[in-house]
């Protein structure tokens, strides 16, 4: 009788323990919390003129320069970093390692507000922000809630190409009261890009940037950020697809036959390790010409801002320059 009852107990307890253990494993590694007390943003030198910012879901009137900003995408963090503004909160998917080092240094300490896909409204609200910059695709449905917490600007970032990013940059610069600095930084950026263009020979190569993980090879077509940036530099997109991130099979990749490949691995071991063993891999022009390069995914595909793009041209000139 007793044995039976004990038996009845054991299974649920075991399951409970399993569930707990798994929950513990999955729990997010919280970023070093920032000192939320002091003001993180540098006050702008010029007096702030009240501005009205038009964005994807309406318009926002800002009477004074926002001081406590929460950004919901990496590219917004990139933009603030170039303007010398430090956000109080960043949605970094609870992994500061996803932000490129250069941007991270400039951001200083910030509070991670967790996932870019499922914003933690409570956490965001606890930071008492006075401006939130959100993404159209990921945050359209929570716009009302975010707007309830603080004035919210919604920009199309996730599906932005290079030119959209430049336009977004100007909006952000204006919103934080640094339109002039922004303009100057943009000119600087254009100069860097022009210089790089001069260094890159045979810029009519077909180049395929691709995020690779253990299960798949995700090409970035010219509808993606990197792809559009590369075509704006004069390179050719070998995929030519409507979708920004089509998943390619090895057969398709060989048919696509890019002349250079930039791999953006998410992990150390990816599907490419398997594909390299296949004799088909050597039939790709990029492989035959020794033009397969591994670069950082966070610089190429996540940052999607001025700093990120400047790192991309650095990688390009280093690998394809003279």
């Amino acid at each position: 009788m007793l044995r039976l009852q004990l038996k009845k107990l054991i299974t649920p307890v075991l399951i409970g323990m399993l569930a707990l253990a798994l929950a513990a494993c999955g729990s997010s590694n919280t970023n070093a919390p920032a000192s939320t007390g002091d003001s993180n943003s540098t006050p702008s030198s010029a007096p702030f003129e009240p501005v009205v910012i038009e964005h994807e879901l309406g318009s926002v009137k800002l009477d004074k320069a926002p001081e406590r900003i929460v950004v919901m995408e990496f590219s917004f963090a990139d933009a603030l970093a170039t303007l010398g503004v430090q956000p109080v909160g960043v949605a970094d998917d609870s992994d500061p390692g996803l932000i490129m080092d250069e941007v991270k240094d400039k951001l200083g300490s910030y509070t991670s507000v967790g996932s870019r896909y499922e914003p933690n409204i409570e956490l965001i609200s606890s930071l008492q922000p006075d401006l939130i910059i959100a993404d159209l695709n990921h945050h359209k449905n929570v716009y009302e809630q975010l707007n309830g917490v603080a004035k919210t600007i919604v920009l199309n970032d996730h599906q932005a190409d290079y030119n959209t990013m430049l336009a977004n940059y100007e909006v952000i610069a204006k919103a934080v009261g640094k339109a002039e600095e922004g303009q100057k930084r943009l000119e600087e950026h254009n100069q860097i890009i022009e210089e790089a263009k001069g260094k890159i020979k045979n810029a009519d190569l077909s180049i395929l940037p691709a995020v690779v993980n253990p299960k798949g090879f995700f090409a970035h077509s010219d509808h993606s950020y990197v792809g559009s940036f590369l075509t704006s530099l004069g390179f050719n997109d070998p995929v030519k697809d409507e979708t920004p991130y089509p998943q390619l099979s090895l057969e398709q990749l060989v048919e696509t036959n890019p002349q250079a490949v930039f791999l953006l691995p998410t992990e150390e071991v990816t599907i490419v390790n398997e594909w390299e063993k296949n004799p088909l891999w050597d039939k790709i022009d990029a492989v035959a010409n020794g033009k397969v390069f591994t670069v950082e995914r966070r610089n190429w595909a996540l940052s999607r801002g001025l700093i990120g793009s400047e790192r991309i041209v650095q990688d390009l000139t280093a690998n394809l320059g003279e």
């Binding site: 299974t11 399951i15 399993l18 569930a19 798994l22 929950a23 494993c25 999955g26 729990s27 997010s28 998917d93 992994d95 996803l98 996932s115 896909y117 499922e118 993980n213 253990p214 299960k215 798949g216 089509p246 998943q247 390619l248 099979s249 090895l250 057969e251 398709q252 060989v254 048919e255 998410t266 992990e267 150390e268 071991v269 599907i271 398997e274 296949n278 004799p279 088909l280 039939k283």
Partner: protein, 341 residues
């Protein structure tokens, strides 16, 4: 009630022979279709050269290193899943059961997702081992919950299976949400896909196929007990519990290995045994081989269709089997009710 069984037994030997011949032809045609059509155009001559292993051009290599192993994997996985489905339905006496009621799919999914999140640089072999271990653990958990008492075991098995399935699935979902960036690619696997199958996968599957088929063939006489009422079977001197345990172990080996390679491909396990039973009747010596053949056929054709849903991009084959299987399941459930009424 006009019939005792919902299926019309086909008694004539010649008809059975024709049926097998037809199934073989369909399988051969499916093989040809899968080798011939894909993202790149391949001419018939090239196809011939490739399968006879002469020529090293791109097109030859597509066939030799990608399409051939993929098609063979699809066929083997089809056989595994169909037979696992048949055995599940026999062992649980539940015509609507499929191996996921043993927690196999959910266990394997959880194990693979955990492996991906916790272990950096998980190899193919590693993820297969993880999936298989997860499948077995899921099944053990269900078994432990259902208990070994004879009475009403079927009902408890089904309830325990569903409970464990949902528990493990929820944990998998949780892991995916908490680790979104590193688990993006899992979605493809979680629907079930053969698109990345290589010769390594074929080699990993074959031992399970050989052992599973050998054990199954040897056990066919004993499995007949499972069709009988428990009391009758026991009265005849059969060790029903033992036979049932062997059946469940076979289900784990067959579907666990299939899930490990291709992810949980739904509905195939459920519908193929029914189609086979409808065509050839309950006699296990005929039913088992026909189920295996039809399983291979169905998955090969589903795989071919999956290549063209979003051409030139791959779709997971699980979408196709679900699209075929969903309506069929509803049909079966309605039919069961009519028969019961």
């Amino acid at each position: 009630m006009r019939e005792t069984s919902p299926y019309k037994p086909v008694k004539q030997k010649r008809q059975a022979l024709l049926l097998f011949l037809f199934a073989f032809l369909a399988l051969a045609l499916g093989f040809f279709g899968n080798l011939k059509w894909g993202q790149a155009h391949v001419s018939l001559l090239t196809l011939y050269e490739a399968v006879t292993f002469q020529g090293e051009d791109k097109a030859h290599l597509y066939i030799q290193t990608l399409r051939l192993p993929r098609t063979i994997t699809a066929a083997i996985v089809g056989v595994h899943l169909a037979l696992a489905g048949l055995l599940t339905q026999l062992a649980t006496r539940n015509p609507l059961a499929s191996p996921h009621i043993f927690g196999i799919n959910a266990g394997a999914s959880l194990a693979v997702v955990s492996g991906l999140v916790l272990v950096d640089g998980l190899s193919l072999f590693g993820s297969v081992a993880f999936a298989f271990a997860g499948a077995s653990l899921g099944a053990l958990l269900v078994w432990a919950l259902a208990g070994s008492q004879q009475q009403k075991q079927y009902v408890r098995l089904a309830l325990a299976g569903i409970a464990v399935h949902f528990l493990l699935s929820s944990l998998t979902e949780g892991m995916i949400i908490l680790n979104q960036h590193s688990t993006d690619s899992m979605m493809f696997w979680l629907v079930g896909s053969t698109s990345e199958a290589a010769w390594d996968d074929v080699a990993a599957l074959l031992p399970f196929t050989a052992a599973g088929l050998a054990a199954l063939t040897a056990m066919i006489p004993s499995f007949r007990l499972l069709i009988l009422d428990d009391a009758v079977a026991a009265g005849l001197g059969g060790r029903v519990a033992l036979v049932r345990s062997v059946a469940v172990l076979l289900v784990i080996a067959l579907s666990g290995s299939a899930v490990a390679i291709c992810g949980p491909i739904g509905f195939l396990c459920l519908i193929v045994p029914h189609i086979a039973r409808y065509l050839i009747g309950e006699k296990l010596t005929l039913l088992v081989p026909l189920t295996a053949l039809l399983g291979a056929c169905l998955l090969i054709y589903a795989d071919l269709i999956s290549k063209f849903i979003a051409f030139p991009f791959e779709s997971p084959v699980g979408i196709v089997t679900a699209a075929i299987g969903g309506p069929f399941f509803i049909y079966l459930a309605r039919k069961q009710r009519r028969n019961a009424a």
